[in-house]
């Protein structure tokens, strides 16, 4: 089934910067950044709202182009990788098509990735995100959290080598979130896929990722680069002392870089 197993490659950012220009005003969203994200790892981007995390994610997906620098995934550009449906994005706004049912929206993730129909695989994904029994519902009948879960199932449906998650569990209730945090990562980790995750939740970042990048307020730059040394999967116990220590480390880094450079310098 996993035709793309072990295909993932390193993501390399070389001097990547993004400046938005709107009506004569320039806004620097991402400061020049050099970064290598190892193949098969999960990286979390944390930082204050509006700091440019999502922009960075869009740059990696090639949905926006950097103003400076370049991004390569293995030997490919993001655009080339998208061209062969090698990556998938779970957007902050679920962007489900309102005229398709839940099953139809998840199946779309396969068909957009040019994969043959597979009703069983779709049903399995729907079960995993806990939407069993809602297969034939339209997005308008679902709660915000349910829509996000359907969007995650859609992103996973195409078996991407690179999975980009933009606050995927933002609207999901705490209990479900906890379960998804436990059950979903193995889906891509087992295939050796690379994942980049934007999140506001420190504990979620520590729970899911191998590496946490703490970003400064706009323009985004990497303030701290924290490697999570805890064991992967079920063994990573949120109640453990080591887990809490890592959380505290991330929080400290966030606090230290709360203020924009201009104010902090004074």
């Amino acid at each position: 089934m996993d035709r793309r197993e072990g295909l993932a490659r390193d993501i390399t950012l070389e001097g990547v910067a993004k400046i938005f220009g709107t009506q004569g005003r320039l806004v620097e969203a991402v400061a020049p950044t050099d970064l290598v994200l190892k193949a098969g790892t999960t990286t979390a981007l944390v930082g204050p709202s509006g700091c440019g995390k999502s922009t960075l994610l869009r740059l990696i997906a090639g949905l926006d182009l950097p103003t400076e620098g370049r991004i390569t995934i293995g030997a490919e550009t993001p655009a080339e990788m998208r061209g062969r449906a090698g990556l998938a994005v779970a957007f902050q706004d679920p962007a489900l098509l309102p005229w398709r049912t839940v099953a139809g929206n998840v199946a779309l993730g396969r068909s957009l990735a040019r994969m043959p129909r597979d009703a069983a695989a779709v049903a399995e994904l729907i079960r995993l995100v806990g939407l069993e029994g809602f297969e034939d519902r339209r997005p308008a009948e679902l709660s915000g959290g349910m829509r996000q879960r359907a969007a995650i199932a859609r992103a996973l449906a195409g078996l991407p080598e690179l999975l980009l998650l933009d606050e995927p569990f933002g609207a999901v209730d705490e209990l479900t979130r906890d379960r998804l945090n436990a059950e979903l990562p193995p889906l891509w980790e087992a295939r050796g896929a690379t994942a980049v995750l934007v999140t506001h939740s420190i504990s979620e970042a520590v729970r899911l990722s191998d590496r946490i990048l703490v970003m400064t307020p706009r323009p985004a730059r990497i303030a701290a680069d924290i490697t999570v040394t805890l064991p992967r999967g079920e063994a990573r116990d949120p109640a453990s002392e080591a887990f809490r220590k890592t959380c505290a480390q991330v929080l400290a880094a966030l606090r230290e870089h709360q203020l924009p450079d201009s104010i902090a310098a004074q």
């Binding site: 949905l63 655009a79 998938a88 957009l112």
Partner: protein, 518 residues
Amino acid sequence: MPAAPLFGRRLTRGLWVLLILLCWEGLARLSASAFVIAAPSQILHYSATHADLLWRAFLTTLWAAARGFFWGNLAGVTLALVAVLLPRSERLLSTLALLVFCLPLVATGPILRVLYGPGDGPQVTLAALAVYYTTFLPVLVGLRAVPQGWRDLVRSYGRGGLTLLREVRLPAALPYAVAGLQIAAPAAFLGAMVGEFTGAERGLGVLTVRAMRALDLPATWSIAVIAAGASVAAFSTIGALGRRLDLAPPEVLLAAPVARARNRWEGPAHAALATLAVLMLWQGTMDAFGLPPFFAKRPGDVWDYLVTDAAARARLWDALAETLSMAVPGYLCGLAAGAGLAMLLVLAPRLSAATLPLAIALRSVPIVATAPLIVWALGRGGAGTVTVVAMMIFFPTLVACRHGLARTPRAVLDVFAVYAASPLRRLLGAQLAAMLPAFFASARMAIPAAILAVTTAEWLATGRGIGALMATVASTSDYNMLWSAITLIGLAAVLAHALVFALERWVLARTNPEQLIR
């Protein structure tokens, strides 16, 4: 109030219909000497005794309308697809489509008659011309009403414009297309009838003209009732088909997103480009088809005629002034009445349940087919024509404004409810802003409708203004004057459109900035 059982509701509705019929009958009998209203019994009697004639005429008109419906909608959908696939062409295409739609059927009818000769070519063409714009606009809106997130989704899989079209744009446009087709059905019937006014052999339009010349009240009323009935039936059938497809209702009805000018030269530059395109298209098609200069006047001919002939110029100006003095008040009254009633119905929701189905049904009545009746009823002075124009605009505006009011965000309404705000406060504070985009879209669409209504009323009933002028000069083969009148009407329509558009941008920039797209 618990929901009445289905049978009970049908009974109530039946009783209402009966009551209305009785009032109608009584009114007609009381005013029999005024010679305005035919009683239902008279209509029934006429229809029964002339069933064969009416049936054959109906089928003729229906057949022409059906073919016009097909070709017009095909053209509308194709134009919308081209505009979306080649975004650079969109503004020019929209302008040209609007301009052609503004050409008064009353004037294009005689020209098409000359072009086609005998047969039903003009009817079919006019029916197509009457529908393509009301399909083009909503389909274009539907195709473009695609949130950035859906585009990103398709792009994130490296898929291009065709996938976006197939998976996102076309399904998103489907409900809009149904709404457009629904409006198109009565319009096609109307177009076919106007085509028949201009010298066809058979059809309901021919019978209308004949009945009016003979001042045959029951006949005129019978035909109007048949035309109205057919239109309502077509309107409801397409609506029911749309519901069978289980489509979500469109987000916006006819409201094309308003583009914000990038700089101050863009508007004038675009206008100049559009003018040039129109002139080239005009001259080009005539030359390409080798149309005889005797009746197919070129832009140069019209210019020469208007520059050299002062008497003709004066005649044309007088007619235009007369027409505008009817069209402008009618247009404003129709808009004000439609928006006003929509707002009133929000304040008095109980009234709304009773009036809305009626308004939706009446929206599909080809008002113009009933224009002679209205002008008869109100006299040949200004009141009749103004009323025809106002009625033509009133129903679509009412429906569009109701639609806009219903789009007030739930959360905003909740905020007003939390503070126990009065319905008036809620209307002014929240719902009015939600209504404005729909109102302005309706105001733009109403311009061609007003021109159609005023010229038809003038032609069929009052014998004054530019509508009558066009009919007269068409019958005397004064084609210089006919083309000059068409040009002037087209110009007036475009100017009115630009005016409404500018006002719309000015108002929406203050009330609904999200409606303005870059």
